[in-house]
Symmetry: C2
Subunit: 339 residues, 2 copies
C-alpha cells in the first residue's frame, strides 16, 4: 500500500508532515510513502531523522508550488498545476498511490480530488466526515465543509457514506443517523431539510429523525448530516467554544494560589478530557464519496496528527470502504425509487 503525503500542507510544513511520516513508517510496516513537495526542502527535513530500516519505503516526488490560504480552492487546481496537493492527488489518479493525505488547503484538496479522481458511482458530491468528540463516544459530522450547496439527494449520500464509515472504521454496529435541524419533530425545519427528511426516511439506514444543537451532546446519534455551509460553521463553533471554555477556566484557575493548588490536585480530570477531545488522535477527516481515498488533516497538525491521518488512510484502503459505499448507495437509490 502506498500513501501520497502532501509534505508542504499545513501551518508547520514540511517539518510536521515529514516527522509524522517517519513516525508512521516506524509504527506500521505495511505501507510506503511518497513525500510530495519541494524535494530539497523535504530531503533536508528527512535528513534530521533516523530512517535506517525503512529508507526504501520513502519516495520523493517533486512539486514546485504550494497552495496558500489566499488561493481559491477551484482556481488552485487550474493555476497551480504543480502544487504539492495536485501532484499528490495525481499519484492516486495514476495508480501510483492508494491514498492521499494533506494538512493543506481544504478547498484545494476537495477541488483537486473531485476534478481529478471524480466521485464514486451514485455520488454527486463528496463530504468531509469529522468525528466530533463528546463525553460519550462522539458523532460523525458530514459534511463539515466540502460543498456549501448540496441537494437533498446529496444529503442522503452523506447519510449512507457516514453509516458505512461509522460501521466499518469506527466499529459501531447500527449507526444512528440524525439530520441537523431546529426541532426534533418531523415538521420542523426549512424547505431544504424537510425534503432531506422525506428522502432519508425510506433510505436503508438507521435514520432517527431531526437533531438539534442540544441533542448533539445530550442524546447523541452516531452520524449527523447537514450541508457543508452549516457543517463548517458548526465544526468551527464547537472547536472555538471548547478551547474558549478551557482557556477561560485556566485563566480563572490562575487567579489565586489556592485555586492553583486545587487545579493541580484535580489535574487528572482535565487531562482525561483533553485526551478525549484531542484531535491528534483522530488524525484526519476522510473526504467521503471520492473515487480514491483522501484524508484531510488539520492545518495545525502535529507529527502525531499526521501519523494518525496515515493510519486512517491505511484503514480505509484495507477495509475497501469505497466498494462498500458504492454497494450501499446503489441499494439506497433503489429503495428510495421504490418508495
Amino acid at each position: 500500500m502506498r500513501v501520497a503525503l502532501d509534505a508542504m500542507g499545513g501551518d508547520f510544513a514540511p517539518v510536521n508532515p515529514v516527522a509524522g511520516a517517519v513516525q508512521a513508517l516506524r509504527e506500521y510496516s505495511d505501507f510506503s510513502v511518497a513525500l510530495v513537495g519541494d524535494e530539497s526542502k523535504v530531503r533536508a527535513e528527512i535528513a534530521k531523522h533516523d530512517i535506517r530500516g525503512f529508507e526504501d519505503r520513502i519516495a520523493y516526488v517533486h512539486a514546485s508550488q504550494v497552495v496558500d490560504m489566499n488561493d481559491s480552492g477551484l482556481d488552485s487546481v487550474r493555476r497551480k498545476k504543480d502544487s504539492s496537493i495536485s501532484r499528490a492527488v495525481d499519484l492516486v489518479k495514476a495508480g501510483q498511490a492508494d491514498a492521499v493525505v494533506s494538512a493543506g488547503h481544504t478547498g484545494a484538496l476537495v477541488a483537486a480530488a473531485t476534478i481529478k479522481l471524480r466521485t464514486l458511482p451514485g455520488i454527486r458530491r463528496a463530504g468531509l466526515a469529522v468525528l466530533v468528540p463528546t463525553p460519550t463516544v462522539g458523532y460523525l459530522l458530514i459534511d463539515a465543509g466540502a460543498n456549501i450547496d448540496p441537494s437533498p439527494e446529496d444529503i442522503v449520500g452523506y447519510a449512507v457514506m457516514g453509516t458505512i464509515y461509522t460501521r466499518e472504521i469506527l466499529g459501531r454496529p447500527n449507526p444512528r443517523v440524525g439530520l441537523m435541524s431546529i426541532g426534533t419533530e418531523e415538521s420542523k425545519g426549512n424547505d431544504f431539510t424537510l425534503e432531506c427528511f422525506r428522502l432519508l426516511k425510506p433510505a436503508p439506514i438507521n435514520f432517527v429523525g431531526n437533531v438539534e444543537g442540544h441533542g448533539l451532546f445530550s442524546k447523541p446519534v452516531d452520524v449527523v448530516v447537514t450541508d457543508g455551509f452549516i457543517g463548517n460553521i458548526l465544526l468551527k463553533t464547537v472547536e472555538g467554544l471548547s478551547s474558549s471554555i478551557f482557556a477561560w477556566l485556566k485563566s480563572e484557575l490562575k487567579k489565586s494560589p489556592v485555586r492553583m493548588l486545587g487545579a493541580w490536585l484535580s489535574r487528572g480530570a482535565f487531562y482525561a478530557i483533553r485526551g478525549q477531545i484531542n484531535t491528534e488522535e483522530y488524525g484526519g477527516t476522510p473526504l467521503l464519496g471520492i473515487n480514491g481515498i483522501c484524508i484531510k488533516s488539520h492545518g495545525n497538525a502535529t507529527p502525531k496528527t499526521i501519523k494518525n491521518a496515515i493510519r486512517v488512510a491505511r484503514e480505509l484502503v484495507a477495509q475497501k470502504v469505497n466498494a462498500r459505499i458504492v454497494e450501499a448507495i446503489t441499494q439506497s437509490h433503489e429503495e428510495i425509487a421504490a418508495h
Copy 2:
C-alpha cells in the same frame, strides 16, 4: 409603564412567572404588571407571596388556553385565540400594556407578535436577539430563530436593529457587526451570505465582515447576524456544548477524593464562569422589529430570569428603542439605495 406577563409560559408556570413578577414589583417601582393566564391558578400562586405595598400594581387577565410545545406557532394564533400568549400580546395591541414578556412557545410568540402588532416601518421580519456570553463581553446573535427564511434585506435589518440594541441597551459605543460565514474573506460564503455582505457594506453600521465559528470566541464582534435557521442551530449548539463540557468536567472531578478536594479548593473559578454564563442575568431575548416590545424568556426560566426579563422590557420601553430603530432603518435604506 405596564408589562403584560404570560403567567402560563415556560416549564415551571405559573409558579416561576408569578414569583418573578413579585420579585420585579418589589425591586422596580416604575411599572405595573398584568398577569395573563388561568386566573384561579394565577391568584392561587400570588396568594403564596407577600404582596403588601404593591398589590394595586397587579392586574389579572384571564386566558383559558395555553400553547403547548406540540402546537405549531402560526396555528396557535388562529386556533388558540384565548391562549395566555395571544391575550398578553392583545394587551399591547390595545394599548393596555407597553411590553409583553413570555417564557412560553417561541414560535407562538413570534407569530402572535408579528400578526397582531405587525413589524416596524422598514422592517419585514423580526429577529430574536440573544446575548451569548464569552470570556470577554459576549456578542448579540440575531436572528436566533424567529424566521428561518429571511431575505438578505432582512439580514441588514437585523444588523441595524442589533446595532441599536447593543448601543442603547448594552451601552457599547460603536458595535462591531459580523456576518456568520465559512471564511473571513469577502469572497467566502454561499450565494445568500455573499448578497448579504454586498448589502451590509454600505449600510450605516460598523460592519467588519464575515465571522467564523472560531472567531465568535477569539476575535469577538458585538453583533453577529445570520438567518434564523443557522442562528437557532448555533444557539442550541453553544448551550448544549457548554453544559456538556461542565457536566463532563464535574463527572471527572468526582472520580477520586483528591480531585474532589482540588475542585473544592478551586471552586471560585467555576463560580466565576457560572456567574458570567448564567442566562438568569440576561433574563430575556428581545424580539426586535416588532411594533411593540416583546421579550422571550427561556423555557426553563427561574423567578430571577423572569424578573430580569421584566427589567429588560422596562429598559427597552424607557430607551424608546423602537423609535431609534425606525430612524436608523430609514437612514440605512437611503444609504443602500444611494450606493
